[in-house]
Symmetry: C2
Subunit: 424 residues, 2 copies
């Protein structure tokens, strides 16, 4: 074996702790895989004195000093698209250190510049842990499914949302209720916006889309809608139609453009069966067909597993381009007009139980050239609002939105109508 | 870019043709990914004059000459564990050429020696296409899921078997009928033994087990049973219990030993939903949890996809060890005594409709300490044999086999009783 491969870790939260523990437990075997002895040389975290249950070596209070240490790789597990995380990664690359990170926000926002910096300095920047945790989907897209091009990537990429939707389905409880419980149990953040609002999924989708299509990661092009407005009724109706509601990140090629969006979707098949806090990704790899990947997308061991795979690869000298192609090859493809995307739609209206409401809704839909495939109307109690649920034939999002705007203006319609696309 | 990366291909069947076509279609993009121009320099196949629908360059009648050409990589798509395929791979490695192959039989049988030869000569030997076609499962096991160890790999690895079982389920037809049709359609070989008898799955399982557990591929240790004896009744009963029957390759760690077997199994969940000719693999990656991969496991584009990913990696200079660890690290772990493996079992008996038969069966099972969880008895027509189906509580295979041997000896029992383990 040649010299040891020196590892510096910034951030000792759940994932950082998992990495340190796994390296302590299986470092020898992993070193033999890498062909070099893996050696933890330095760590930095917020609180030196926190009880962690494992020993740390080479403590420093200043994470930036890791980028100037004698480490071969800096493992950035601080998080955040700006600030210290960004500074650390940029400095480490500039100092010709490999970087392994789980920071989806940083890469979604600054992926191109960072890839350029890595190439310029002859080092690697790896981020398997940034999307879908333990599932080796970054590797699969970057190196595996490259021969026939990718037409679409569809993923359940946020475990918190999938947990909440799964709980809502099994218990019939409301979004707010389940979220509160998830927060109490530590499954959801005190400020859950980034998860339930779809922002986290958008970060991950931007990375997967870049790998799939050879494009510059383009977070601004991702249309984002969260799961906050999903009701137990929607979930129950979905089930009646043979579907489940999942928060999906979807990136697909439409002509010579790319459409990227995050939204709740009605799904069947493999994606519908991704349970609890798990993640799942479906890749349409052109002629080679569809490939599906699922497993744990967050948490200590799965995410540490991805980080460690990247460390071992960096140690063994593997240096594939950051996004699978040279940074100069990454293209800036125009975003498709997502509003023109065609789909069947699930629509739910809460209306007053008075004559003419259905006729009025049907009229507005017809006017917008939206035609109905099936319908359920359900009265809950005399005098209470009535749920009208429709599945449309395929039509453009813009047409449905136009109809819904007109319908929502009626004083017989309570609350904003709900629309969810039917996927897969 | 540095010099071009010269590719020689031996074998222009379905897969070889797919590789040539994909390189012609997307060679430029793939070259940029590899960082070197990919260049087809030589091919060899059985019949020069066969109409192929694509142009070939550098024809030679002697595949062995490819190993002595100026190619950087020899792509072996001839197949077979001995003969010309083995000679070609050995000669190519000895001549310091990278090798990419889809040859599961060759690697399952001679994996260790070939890995040693590759290491000794400083070249790579890659075989993503040898197991599960387009699914990048070799890569996932070799490089992705390495941090926490693997406890078990369970795979649907033979598309022909999965197609036949799926057809039997949807049509209610017999194994023989569906096989005959599959042969007529070209989905099954004229001699289907290697597929339906489980041998092909065993080859693939031996490779996945080596990657998962760091062991020398050990084909001899794989206990193999095929799908020939599965009846439409078994499939229908499985469905009543909420299961599907799939041919699985299962490798798992039991204590400090490895159990490897290929057999029909009752499955639920992700593996049960692998349709038609697709493949699916479930990996229990210790603390990191379970990961599932599925997609097309055979055919032109999916298999070519795997071959091309390997070629691009070889071209870009990536040289991870053949089975994920240095050949000298691969251990020879004792096979576990598979007969002691514990499972619930599906049992089916065809018996004469006369008093005392059930009592006799139940008595033999009790004597072997096999206890019954549930039972279905069904008469088809007066006087016709009766199907008795039981699901046992967990017990060792050896105990069930002991009971079945005693039961089969009765003249009231028609045909050999059927036993199928309940998995996952």
């Amino acid at each position: 074996m040649t010299d040891s491969f020196k590892i510096a870790i910034a951030g000792l939260g759940t994932v950082g702790g998992g990495v340190v523990k796994a390296l302590a437990l299986r470092g020898e075997e992993l070193s033999r895989r890498a062909g070099r002895k893996l050696e933890m040389v330095a760590v930095s975290a917020r609180d030196k004195n926190k009880a962690r249950g494992f020993a740390v070596k080479g403590w420093t209070d200043d994470p930036l000093s890791l980028a100037k240490s004698d480490a071969d790789v800096v493992v950035e597990l601080i998080g955040g698209e700006e600030g210290i995380a960004r500074q650390l990664v940029e400095t480490a690359l500039a100092n010709k250190k490999h970087v392994v990170t789980a920071n989806k926000a940083l890469l979604a926002k600054h992926g191109l510049q960072l890839a350029q910096a890595a190439e310029k300095n002859g080092v690697t920047l790896k981020f398997e842990a940034a999307a879908a945790g333990g599932i080796p989907i970054v590797k699969a897209l970057r190196e595996g499914l490259i021969a026939h091009g990718v037409d679409a990537v569809k993923g359940i990429l946020n475990g918190t949302c999938n947990y909440i939707l799964t709980e809502m389905e099994s218990s019939g409880r409301s979004f707010a209720d389940v979220l509160k419980e998830a927060q109490a149990k530590g499954y959801a953040e005190a400020d859950p916006t980034l998860d339930v609002g779809g922002g986290d999924t958008a970060h991950k989708l931007a990375l997967l889309a870049s790998l799939a299509f050879g494009t510059v990661p383009n977070l601004d092009a991702v249309a984002v809608e969260g799961i906050e407005r999903i009701t137990p009724d929607d979930i129950a109706f979905a089930s009646e139609f043979g579907y489940r509601i999942k928060l999906l990140g979807v990136a697909r090629r439409i002509g010579n453009k790319i459409d990227q969006k995050v939204h709740p979707a009605m799904v069947k098949g493999a994606l519908a069966n991704v349970p609890g806090a798990a993640n799942g990704v479906l890749v349409d790899a052109g002629e080679a067909g569809s490939f599906f990947f699922s497993g744990r997308g967050a948490g200590e061991a799965p995410t540490a597993s991805a980080v460690i795979a990247d460390i071992v690869e960096a140690a063994s000298g593997v240096s594939s381009p950051v996004f699978g192609r040279p940074a100069s090859d990454l293209s800036r493809i125009d975003p498709a007009d997502g509003k023109q995307a065609v789909s069947s739609w699930y629509l739910r209206f809460e209306v007053l139980d008075v004559p003419g409401v259905l006729a009025s809704i049907a009229g507005h839909l017809a006017e917008a050239t939206v035609s109905i495939e099936s319908m359920i109307q359900r009265v809950r109690a005399p005098g209470a609002p009535v749920s009208i649920v429709m599945i449309t034939h395929e039509c453009a999002q813009a047409d449905v939105e136009r109809a819904l705007k007109a319908i929502a203006a009626s004083d017989k319609v309570r609350a904003r109508p709900c629309m969810i696309p039917m996927e897969a």
